[in-house]
């Protein structure tokens, strides 16, 4: 028997100033059965919603008005005012170059989805966030999901212990 995901049990917040992009994500989530989906255009509105309501997953665009998606993520992960430091954040962006992926990863992104995206790619990120949660790492310089996704045999010194 195949494992399933009941999306009606999960609440989503879409943070995207682009009407069409937000609509595509909204339609996809609604089709999957999610009934609690909020849409906002700016990070400030997102913080208001996050402080007011129980949100399980944030789907956020990088390019936003005022504070950009990265600053939003930084506040979420590292600020003492953060409504939820552990909340999974899926970052959508048309900046797909490696340097952007690395920057987002090092600020504690849960999943990264390059635009233009298709339904399969979005679904796989949702599955990953829900069904394969990662442990969190807290060091002096990083707070976020474990960036080591694969366990590879390594004989050198463990840098986390240095």
């Amino acid at each position: 028997m195949n494992a399933k995901i009941d999306f009606s049990k999960i609440s989503f917040l879409i943070v995207d100033g682009d009407k069409i992009s937000a609509q595509v994500v909204y339609d996809t989530l609604a089709y999957l059965g999610a009934s609690h989906i909020q849409r906002v255009k700016t990070p400030n509105d997102a913080f208001d919603v996050l402080r007011r309501e129980q949100i399980d997953i944030v789907v956020c665009e990088w390019r936003l008005r005022g504070m950009d998606g990265l600053e939003f993520l930084d506040v979420m992960r590292n600020s003492t005012n953060s409504p939820n430091r552990f909340i999974p954040v899926i970052m959508l962006t048309a900046h797909s170059e490696m340097k952007y992926v690395t920057t987002a990863r090092d600020l504690g992104i849960t999943e990264f989805l390059a635009k233009p995206f298709n339904a399969k790619a979005l679904y796989s990120r949702l599955v990953s966030v829900i069904a394969r949660p990662r442990r969190f790492i807290n060091t002096g310089t990083y707070f976020g999901p474990d960036r080591r996704r694969r366990q590879v045999q390594f004989d050198g010194p463990d840098r986390r212990e240095l």
């Binding site: 494992a3 999957l32 969190f136 790492i137």
Partner: protein, 184 residues
């Protein structure tokens, strides 16, 4: 500090005490998984090709909205650029408008089967990136990008087009490189 080891008769240096770990590993939050993953209700974790196709159709439902909205944005942006050609004070606004438009089209073109638009928008985005203003020729280069995007959208050229369209993309990229400087 070294000391004399009576057993072996050697001078030994004790090992440095291990530094305390400066990392905290917090177990994964499994609340979502517990709530949503089951064997009865919902969508399979591994979707079948048919289910994926259905999901893709949901995305494609917004294609008409994309064509209509981007068409309007292209026209608006073109007006701003043309206005800026004769009015230097409006050039920063025109550059910002081109940047926003380029990002938006680059992000969504491919999703709605217009990867050619994504290619052109990418060229336009690199061209206007880190600019606060533009000279006349640079505005004309931006305008050419906008016109090409409009033609593709109006003619509904989905996919990567023919060799003609690919040659147009290459020409636009070359043009953008040629008039890249000054970048101010």
């Amino acid at each position: 500090m070294t000391h004399y080891d009576w057993g072996s008769g050697a001078i030994v240096t004790p090992e440095e005490p291990k530094k305390k770990k400066n990392v905290q590993i917090i177990p994964a939050q499994t609340d979502l998984k517990r709530r949503a993953v089951n064997f009865v209700k919902g969508f399979d974790i591994n979707l079948s090709p048919e289910q994926l196709e259905e999901l893709e159709n949901v995305v494609q439902r917004s294609t008409e909205t994309f064509v209509r909205d981007v068409g309007k944005e292209l026209m608006d942006c073109r007006k701003i650029v043309i206005g800026a050609l004769g009015d230097k004070s409006r050039r920063p606004e025109a550059v910002a408008a081109c940047g926003d438009l380029a990002y938006s089209v680059k992000a969504l073109g491919g999703t709605f089967q217009y990867p050619l638009m994504t290619q052109i928008a990418k060229s336009m985005e690199s061209f206007v990136a880190d600019r606060t203003t533009a000279n006349e020729k640079q505005l004309l280069v931006s305008q050419l990008h906008i016109d090409s995007l409009y033609v593709i959208l109006a003619s509904r050229v989905t996919g990567f087009g023919t060799t003609v369209e690919q040659a147009t993309v290459a020409a636009l990229t070359k043009l953008a490189e040629r008039y890249e400087l000054p970048r101010e």
